[in-house]
Amino acid sequence: MKRENFEIDERLAGQSAIREIVSKLPDDEPSMAWRSQLNERLRALPVKARKRWWELIWKPTVGLGLATAFAFALLMKPTQPAPTVSPESGSIVADAILDAHSGTVARHELGAVSGEALESDTAAVPVEWDDVDLNTL
């Protein structure tokens, strides 16, 4: 590899006369018309509007502000007050339950209500067994 490089470098060094000739080739200078046309084309390019600092800032700021406001509104949304049981209403319910119980006990003692009825409402319901149920037994 090094030997090849050396050989090509040697050969290139031997071509210095051609290099000299090529380096002396004159350049055709572009005309004034060419330059004017180039300037026209450059001017015709759509100008990329450079954003000013406040343009770079205001959109994110507004977005952030809106997001914050939305989050705040969600967090601070007035919720339905939890149902509270006032001591008065609690006593009313308790009294009603006690009254119902006392009434039932009193009627039981008077023989108006059977013992089973006190234990379960469903016990009084007659059960109808069909053949399928009976076969499973």
Binding site: E4, N5, I8, D9, R11, L12, G14, Q15, S16, A17, I18, R19, E20, I21, V22, S23, K24, L25, P26, D27, D28, E29, P30, S31, M32, W34, R35, Q37, L38, N39, R41, L42, L45, V47, K48, R50
Partner: protein, 205 residues
Amino acid sequence: MELSIGTRAIRMKNDPATEQALIERCRRQDGEAFSKIVDAYQNRVYGFVKRMVPNAEEASDIAQEVFIRAYQSFGRFDARSSLRTWLFRIAYNLCVDRSRRYKRGLDETSIDVMGEDDAVYDVPDSRWDPQSLILDDELRAVVERGLEEMSDKLRTVLLLHDKEDFAYEEIAQTLSLPIGTVKSRLFLARAHLQKVVGVYLEGGA
């Protein structure tokens, strides 16, 4: 750095800091700074493109396109390569695109130089002395014709190295080629020109 005002070239002190300042301004789409860049490079870019594209009108258009592309994409110029390398890479790519459009391709021209005797390249002739060799219009025309005859690949390397004074590394960077390939192409291109000029000097042109 060579700067020119309009089409009149003037020499300026090579000052990388100045060029860097201009580049920074160009990144901000500063038209005045870009105009100075155009002044500095228009002759060389125009000359390179004219030798790469045979049609004069098309060459003028492509040379303008080089600067337009540069102006539009200055924001992406990362200064890893020099401004000169970057501009010539744009120029080369546009020339290649144009070649592809015309389906000329970039295949190597079958220049018959490799099989010949080395004496052809190492001409021990006093007429090869660069000092005594006057590049008159006739010889210039011969050289220009020799340039036209070779492939785009060889011509590009020859022009960048011998005309624009690019280093091998710069050419390799511009054309995305290994340095060895750059050297071998340069050798082939010069050998072809040597042959053409040799024929002319022997009175055969």
